[in-house]
Symmetry: C2
Subunit: 218 residues, 2 copies
DNA sequence: AGGCTAATGTCAGTCGCTGACAGTTGACAA
DNA sequence: TTGTCAACTGTCAGCGACTGACATTAGCCT
């Protein structure tokens, strides 16, 4: 059926990949990203350094492996939002939907609290923060496209989807930072903070810049 | 007087520093950032690689040397905006004020068109783009603080300055990207595009979230 | 069992970057 | 002018991220 054993070879590959991610994140969060060498990670998983670089094109990439999972989950959640929701409304709802499903998706690879600590680690490591920002920018490009389609706007010419997404992303990052500074590193905590901060955003951007909902409407 | 010869030693230092910046940017824009080694830059300026790293702590840093100038110019321009202007209004006006003074400030070190091409190079080089985003985020922190002070808001608790700055920054970056895609790499072109894109932003964010201007006002 | 091929290991080399030590050269006083 | 000091620079050795080339191992399939 959908079990897909896919042979011993593929299973081993997945196992070593997951092990590399888990060990890397444990070392990164434990002793810091810069103070962890690729050799250390490779040695802990008992593979050669060369093999590490066959799985991940850079030391950076392994740090974002789980974030990649998160992002695709979020995009999937957004695509399932009903068309009747406004842009910010849909973006917000997708966040909470994604938080609901993340536990089972992530915990197959790493414990959820390691994922939380990884986020803190990324935010507090300059090079990773930079990479994170760039990745966010790329995501926002995607998001703006999705929002533009939802609202029936021209994704190239009309800057308003981008503005909305930029503002949304800015608030999300600010909320994340706030969460990092507080002591509570739980999923619940970040949910609460996100909720609170996003509530401020609605009033500021909830202009009704949607084309006439139905023709023949004054 | 204000001439400040500052001795031969200091002059030499400035000269080699400027030379390193100019040569580096010329090589970066000419053959690409990744395909340029620090050794090349150092050799072209006839200093040792070690000396390069005494002037710039990383290869990245020299790529942003002129951007640093720009940023301080912009911050200075913003601080001089009159308090009567709204947040977005002031942020926008400062952009154009900065563009007016940039020519003389930058051209002392590198030709202005090299600076323009450098911007394109940064935007199209992943690592530099990442660094650029992180630097932007740091700037936005500063900007949000300035705006909060202008508006008499709590810079820690109130998210609205951050939201406004995030949206503003998002539009600025989008405008920059748009400019990069068009063929016209002139200062005039980026001015025009910036003007156009920022015009869209006002209506979306110009809510009057300022505390009662004068007491005794309904 | 045996051949094919994906996966891995080994080795050498490049490039960014750093610490340590030594040599050179402006600055400044005697 | 001369000598001392401090700043600036060069050289060398070494670490860590990353890559290409080639040899080796080990699932997979007939």
């Amino acid at each position: 059926m959908t079990v897909e054993t896919t042979g011993l070879r593929a299973r081993r590959k997945r196992r070593t990949r997951d092990a590399l991610v888990r060990v890397a994140l444990e070392l990164f969060t434990g002793q810091g990203y810069e103070r962890t060498t690729v050799d250390e990670i490779a040695e802990a998983v008992e593979v050669s350094q060369r093999t590490f670089f066959r799985y991940f094109s850079s030391k950076e990439e392994v740090a974002f492996a789980v974030q990649d999972l998160m992002e695709s989950h979020y995009l999937a959640a957004l695509r399932e939002r009903p068309a009747c929701e406004g842009p910010i409304e849909a973006l917000t709802a997708a966040v909470f939907a994604a938080w609901d499903t993340v536990e089972e998706a992530v915990s197959a690879i790493i414990p959820i609290d390691l994922h939380m600590r990884s986020y803190l680690m990324i935010e507090s490591t300059p090079v990773l923060l930079a990479a994170h920002m760039r990745r966010s920018a790329e995501s926002e490009e995607l998001l703006a496209g999705l929002i533009a389609r939802r609202e029936g706007l021209d994704p190239v010419r009309d800057p308003r989807p981008r503005v909305a997404v930029a503002a949304f992303g800015g608030v999300m990052r600010a909320a994340g930072r706030q969460w990092g500074q507080g002591g509570d590193a739980s999923v619940e905590a970040i949910r609460t903070i996100t909720e609170e901060w996003l509530a401020h955003l609605g009033p500021a951007l909830a202009a009704d810049w949607r084309p006439p909902p139905t023709p023949g409407n004054a």
